[in-house]
């Protein structure tokens, strides 16, 4: 009897268990969203089909993410059984490692994590796996991603990467000073303008000049024991070029890859870029992020143009004295070219690429699709130790992102994302940009005039174009422009 009863109840139990499993599965799917879930299912199926035991993927990781990425790697392993081994490296060294792999073809890394700008060289060298076939199979979702970010995932018509970071530059002002009634009144009196986010670069420089204060002065009821610098921005070698497009405000080349910088627009942009340096800390030309962020946090500057993460740093760093005293602004417009345009250069960025020599490129792809999917991507951007910044519509309503960045900042940075333009996204990116950096430095140091710098830059750029191959460069340039990398069209 007993046996019969058990036997009779068995189908019910099985049905219940199946129901629970289905419900759990549905819940999991809901938690991860369809894009991430497809990646999880795909990875499980891949491991099973290939009969892999303890599979491991290696990633050459931007060391900025050494404290945040492992959380996601662990989660992925729990979901799929695929371990992710990260090799953190400074971002300045990653491009050479990637290109070294193009020659050595070792397959030591399955994935590369670097700026998108490494992609043109790496793709042309054949070290990146085109992802179109996998994308067609697993269907990633790029809805709500601004055009320039989508275009940065492609090169010459093929997809090579996924982007998970809105590193478009923004301007941050000192809210406590902007809201100081005396400061507002004096500024209005001096300039005839209301104080707030500057409409254009000239307005920003005007504010920088007004608020630039020597140590020992008392202004607007505030005693300054230390100097207050009117402005801060990136002006060192390897960084200047990341801000220059905001001043130039247009395409750097014409349709035949002739540089457009050797023009009135170019000279004006170089002059404006250099002019505001007089209101920055004296050694700004030697500073990178490790110097600029703490200096901003120390409260010794009125304004800073930087990566969006500086806002979070200012609010979260224990030593920061600018907590809740920051006013985020969309990038000021530039009037170069006759009309005001806003161009927030994607100054760095975080891309994920698959090594063409990996033993398991499809598995690597699946991890990347999962990590950059709307649901997991949101959690990455919200990660307290991460440096991923908001960039897509899906970031808007996310509670974690709101908690980390605040509604005010999120609104500004997502508006700013609409003005995002890429740096030069063709082969030889680093060489073109170094020529720009060197000549901007010469102007900032007073060695040459902007017009001379513009001529030299144009000559240097032409040299690079010829060396790489003008025909190929024109083709890639035109495709990139048409894809929306730079907002402007030819």
């Amino acid at each position: 009897m007993r046996i019969d009863r058990v036997t009779a109840r068995a189908p019910i139990a099985v049905a219940c268990a199946a129901g629970l499993l289905l419900a759990a599965g549905a819940a999991t799917g809901a938690e991860y969203g369809p894009v991430a879930q497809r990646a999880i299912d795909g990875a499980k199926a891949y491991v099973k089909a290939k009969g892999l035991k303890n599979p491991t993927l290696d990633i050459l990781l931007n060391s900025l993410y050494r404290n945040s990425f492992p959380d996601f790697a662990k989660e992925w392993q729990g979901l799929t059984g695929v371990a992710i081994k990260a090799e953190p490296l400074g971002y300045t060294d990653i491009p050479s490692k990637v290109m070294g792999e193009a020659v050595a073809k070792t397959g030591a890394f399955d994935m590369f994590n670097d700026f998108p700008y490494t992609q043109p060289d790496a793709a042309s060298a054949g070290v990146l796996k085109p992802l179109d076939e996998y994308a067609a199979k697993y269907k990633p979702d790029f809805s709500g991603v601004p055009e320039a970010f989508i275009a940065q995932q492609f090169y010459n018509g093929k997809q090579y990467s996924f982007v998970l970071d809105g590193d478009h530059i923004i301007l941050v002002l000192r809210k406590d000073i902007v809201e100081n009634p005396k400061a507002r009144e004096e500024f209005k009196k001096a300039t005839g303008k209301d104080l707030g986010c500057p409409a254009n670069m000239a307005d920003w420089e005007e504010q920088a000049k007004f608020f630039h204060t020597e140590a020992g002065q008392t202004r607007w009821g505030v005693k300054f024991d230390k100097p207050l610098y009117g402005a801060m921005g990136y002006r060192s070698v390897n960084f200047s070029h990341r801000h220059f497009p905001a001043y130039f405000g247009g395409l750097l080349f014409d349709k035949d890859m002739n540089p457009r910088i050797d023009s009135a627009q170019g000279s004006k942009a170089i002059a404006a870029f250099s002019s505001i340096v007089q209101y920055m800390p004296k050694d700004i030309q030697g500073w990178g992020t490790p110097q600029i962020y703490p200096f901003w946090g120390s409260g010794q500057a009125y304004s800073v143009m930087s990566f969006p993460s500086i806002f979070g740093y200012g609010n979260a760093n224990p030593k920061s004295v600018v907590k809740q005293k920051q006013l985020p602004c969309v990038i000021p417009a530039t009037n170069a070219g006759g009309k005001p345009v806003r161009r927030a250069a994607e100054a760095a960025g975080t891309s994920y690429m698959v090594n063409a020599y990996s033993d398991h490129p499809e598995l690597a792809y699946l991890f990347i699709q999962w990590l950059t999917s709307p649901s997991v991507g949101n959690r990455a951007i919200a990660h307290p130790k991460g440096f991923w910044d908001p960039f897509r519509e899906a970031n808007k309503g996310d509670a974690g992102i709101l908690k980390k960045f605040s509604q005010e900042f999120l609104d500004v940075t997502l508006e700013n994302a609409q003005y995002t333009t890429s740096l030069l996204y063709i082969e030889g990116h680093y060489e073109y940009m170094k020529i720009l950096d060197n000549n901007l430095a010469d102007v900032m140091n007073g060695n040459i005039k902007p017009e001379e710098a513009a001529k030299r830059i144009a000559k240097g750029w032409n040299g690079v174009t010829e060396d790489i191959g003008r025909k190929e460069q024109i083709e890639a340039w035109r495709k990139g422009v048409a894809a929306g990398l730079y907002i402007d069209k030819l």
Binding site: S96, N238, D437
Partner: protein, 323 residues
């Protein structure tokens, strides 16, 4: 075959045994060190060297597959020789190396002379003066980047001087073009004076005491003894120090990367940094190969001239001692 113990030992006729027997032959054994050394030399030096020469004649950047590379004659050499950046970096290298080596030689020499005469605590001084050389260059770079910040200890130390001179006390050590160049020279001097100190100290220790005593007995003052006896005897050591330090200083790279990344602009770009950038940042492997071949010729000429001078001096001294 039967062994003495009565246990049968089978003759070893396997390939390893045969190889062992062959190697143990006198005519073969003599060649083993030669083959090993030559083999390593060919593998480590000759093959990469020939490959570099070959690559220097190719038209190839690493952003295209190597299979697409093709011979382009002396195009890369022409490109290097007509590149103003190359010549500027080379000039800067000699400027840095020249000043750095002179300071290192003078300071190292003085320190070695003083320590050689010290009796108490000599070992402590030697240990302390040798420490900089043993510090990893990365650590030196980061330490100096802290020392050089505008509110940093160096500017604080110089405050009395800058006040007297009436100049800005916040010297921009890493962002002013001229100051940045001297920042790199100072960092190099700090680290590598230890080496010249060590070379000179060994030179002082090896001075024949009978010659110095003889000079003293004959009424020479300390200064005369130093100038007419010790210094001439130290000449080979000085040439060694010059050659060794110049060889290294011409390859100056670490402090440039760690302190300025070649900036501001290109004001601290040395030729080693320039080459690294061309190859590893811009992927111009063939161009870099041509540039390194040209530098090899240039630096080899200089260094062999130095070695020739050293040999000539040593021969002269040997001849004088012999006579």
């Amino acid at each position: 075959m039967t062994a003495l113990s009565g246990v049968e030992v089978r003759p070893r006729n396997g390939p390893i045994a045969r190889l062992g027997a062959w190697l143990s032959q006198e005519r073969v054994f003599r060649w083993i060190p030669f083959v090993l050394v030559e083999g390593t030399f060919i593998l480590v030096i000759i093959i990469p060297f020939l490959l570099t020469i070959y690559i220097s004649f190719l038209r190839w950047r690493a952003n295209r597959p190597f299979e697409q590379a093709y011979l382009s004659g002396f195009r890369n050499y022409e490109a290097v020789l007509t590149d103003t950046g190359f010549w500027a970096a080379l000039g800067r290298t000699f400027y840095f190396a020249g000043f750095a080596v002179v300071f290192e030689l003078v300071i190292g020499f003085v320190l070695a002379m003083l320590v050689h005469r010290v009796v108490r605590g000599r070992r402590i001084y030697i240990t302390v003066f040798l420490i900089p050389m043993m510090v990893v260059p990365v650590v030196v770079g980061y330490n100096f980047s802290m020392i050089y910040i505008d509110h940093g200890p160096l500017n604080q130390l110089l405050l009395p001087l800058t006040s007297i001179l009436g100049i800005d006390p916040r010297i921009r050590w890493l962002s002013d073009p001229l100051a940045a160049q001297w920042a790199i020279i100072l960092a190099d001097v700090w680290q590598w004076t230890s080496l010249t100190f060590l070379i000179f100290l060994s030179g002082f220790s090896a001075l024949p005491p009978q010659l110095i005593n003889a000079a003293r007995v004959m009424g020479a003052s300390r200064w005369q003894t130093f100038w007419w006896v010790e210094l001439p005897l130290l000449k080979p050591v000085i040439v060694i120090a010059v050659v060794v330090r110049s060889m290294e200083a011409l390859k100056l790279f670490d402090p440039v990367v760690l302190l300025t990344f070649g900036g501001p602009g290109t004001s601290t770009q040395t030729v080693a940094y320039y080459l690294w950038e061309q190859v590893w940042q811009f992927n111009k492997f063939a161009f870099g190969a041509a540039a390194s071949m040209l530098l090899l010729i240039l630096f080899s000429t200089l260094i062999f001239t130095g070695i020739w001078l050293m040999m000539r001096e040593r021969t002269r001294l040997d001849r004088e001692r012999g006579s």
